[in-house]
């Protein structure tokens, strides 16, 4: 894989086929990396939370159109001050703005965009991702938890590519990249890339490949996750 990013400075090392930067990535650096990996002209949905940061690093030249599932294409940045309009919010219920060329539609039409496979990429947070790209990001499964799913399953199942952004390890140091998800699933075999603070992984039916690492070697990374890793084939 040789996907161009807009921040080559992060790619300082190179072991075997693998690029490695000097230190783990912070949330903003990770968002910048994801933003740079989005192909020009793409239609993209950014999930609530960490994925929303990606919008801060999209360049106008990329000509990316953002979709928000409550019913809009051409969503602009978060609204501030007098821009705030209660009728113009994103899926996280945050006031946003409208860019030239935007369009509004009702919920069934909006989800038809997602479910019909028309979004190029969605970026989601996750509790767990499996080696084959199963996603768990909506429910802890705790018996007393009140479940809430929103559009997560539609995005996971519908977008052409599903990118996950998450820390690789839980606070307790357990890998969120797992052999098999133990949390309730959002979708099966849907995740294509996992962006973490320690590495970028490509997931799919053939298992996990590592595209690049941040602040660790492939060997050190391997020690953190419970499945065999291999460096991604250059393409």
């Amino acid at each position: 894989m040789s996907i161009p990013t807009n921040d080559q400075s992060l790619r300082t090392g190179n072991q075997a086929d693998l690029q490695t930067s000097g230190k783990p990535l912070g949330r903003d650096d990770l968002a910048r990396l994801v933003a740079g990996d989005i192909a020009p002209g793409s239609f993209v949905n950014l999930g609530i939370g960490q994925p929303t940061l990606v919008s801060n690093y999209l360049e106008p030249e990329q000509n990316i159109t953002l979709h928000t599932e409550n019913g809009m294409l051409g969503m602009g940045p978060e609204a501030t001050g007098e821009q705030i309009d209660g009728d113009l919010i994103n899926a996280g219920k945050i006031p946003v703005t409208e860019l030239p060329g935007a369009s509004y539609f009702h919920h069934a039409d909006s989800f038809a965009i997602m479910r019909g496979g028309h979004l190029d990429i969605c970026v989601l947070g996750a509790f767990q991702v499996s080696a084959t790209g199963d996603l768990a990001n909506w429910h802890t499964g705790a018996p007393d938890a009140i479940p809430a799913v929103g559009g997560a399953m539609d995005l996971a199942t519908g977008a052409k590519d599903v990118f996950v952004m998450m820390t690789l390890l839980t606070r307790d140091g357990v890998s969120k990249l797992v052999e098999t998800c133990t949390y309730p699933l959002t979708g099966i075999g849907c995740v294509t890339r996992v962006y973490t603070d320690k590495a970028v992984f490509l997931t799919g039916p053939d298992g996990v490949q590592v595209r690049e690492t941040f602040g660790c070697t492939l060997e050190e990374l391997q020690a953190m996750v419970p499945m065999p890793l291999r460096a991604a084939d250059p393409s």
Binding site: T68, E69, N70, G71, M72, D85, G86, D87, L88, I89, N90, K93, E98, Y104, F105, H106, H107, A108, S110, F111, A112, M114, R115, H139, D144, A145, I146, P147, A148, V149, G150, G151, A152, M153, D154, T157, G158, P184, L185, T186, G187, I188
Partner: protein, 219 residues
């Protein structure tokens, strides 16, 4: 038959105990707050409510739930930082929850309005929200059978109505309004303005008047 009604109270007066009521809105955008307040006032109980959420804060749907009027919620995202009234009723076992992926919720509502008896969708396949549901391999994917959600009444909010009941909405407040209007036997729309027939461009109507039964202007 279309009626223009003077007050929200009169508009909701016919809603019966045990009805299924769709309520438009996503977050606060498009929520018909005045109609919901009137529904609370009118006393109808044992309701099944269809909404994306299960109420926020101390207003609208949240109060309807708090007051025990809601027997069952059909929604996609009940748990929010300020969904305390739903949370309490749910933990007390006093409200039933049918949790539906948001796109299935939208498509099931759309199916009801469009006369579709059921459909297969990949969304939810292999998850606990599809447990017990029929599945089928179609178009290269495993899919889940989902059924329409019909309602007795829809309460929606639009921007402007004309004399034929045609509606237009405003920005992301459009959300569930158009599909709920089509899925309910009786649709009540609160609007910010009413223009004479001919005052809306026929190219830009979002909800044709055929789907609207009662219109009430809210200041």
């Amino acid at each position: 038959m279309l009626n223009f009604i003077d007050t929200v109270g009169e508009a909701v007066a016919g809603i019966e105990d045990g009805s299924t009521v769709m309520i438009g809105g996503f977050g606060n955008a498009g929520q018909p707050f005045e109609l919901i307040d009137a529904l609370l006032e009118c006393g109808a109980t044992g309701l099944t409510v269809v909404n994306n959420n299960a109420g926020q804060g101390d207003q609208g749907l949240a109060l309807l739930i708090k007051e025990g009027r809601v027997k069952k919620m059909i929604c996609s995202f009940p748990r929010q930082s300020d969904s305390w009234h739903f949370d309490a009723k749910y933990r007390a076992g006093e409200v039933e929850l049918e949790l539906v992926p948001q796109g299935n919720l939208a498509e099931r509502i759309r199916a009801a309005g469009a006369g579709i008896g059921g459909f297969f969708t990949p969304t939810g396949y292999g998850t606990m929200l599809a447990e017990g549901k029929e599945t089928r391999f179609l178009d290269g994917k495993w899919q889940v059978f989902e059924t329409p959600i019909h309602a007795d009444v829809a309460l929606i909010k639009a921007l402007t109505a004309d004399g034929r009941g045609n509606l237009v909405y405003r920005k992301t407040a459009r959300n569930f309004g158009p599909i709920m209007a089509a899925a309910a036997k009786h649709t009540i729309a609160q609007v910010s303005g009413i223009v004479p027939t001919g005052g809306l461009d026929p190219e830009n109507i979002v909800t044709p008047g055929i789907y609207v039964n009662s219109i009430v202007k809210v200041a």
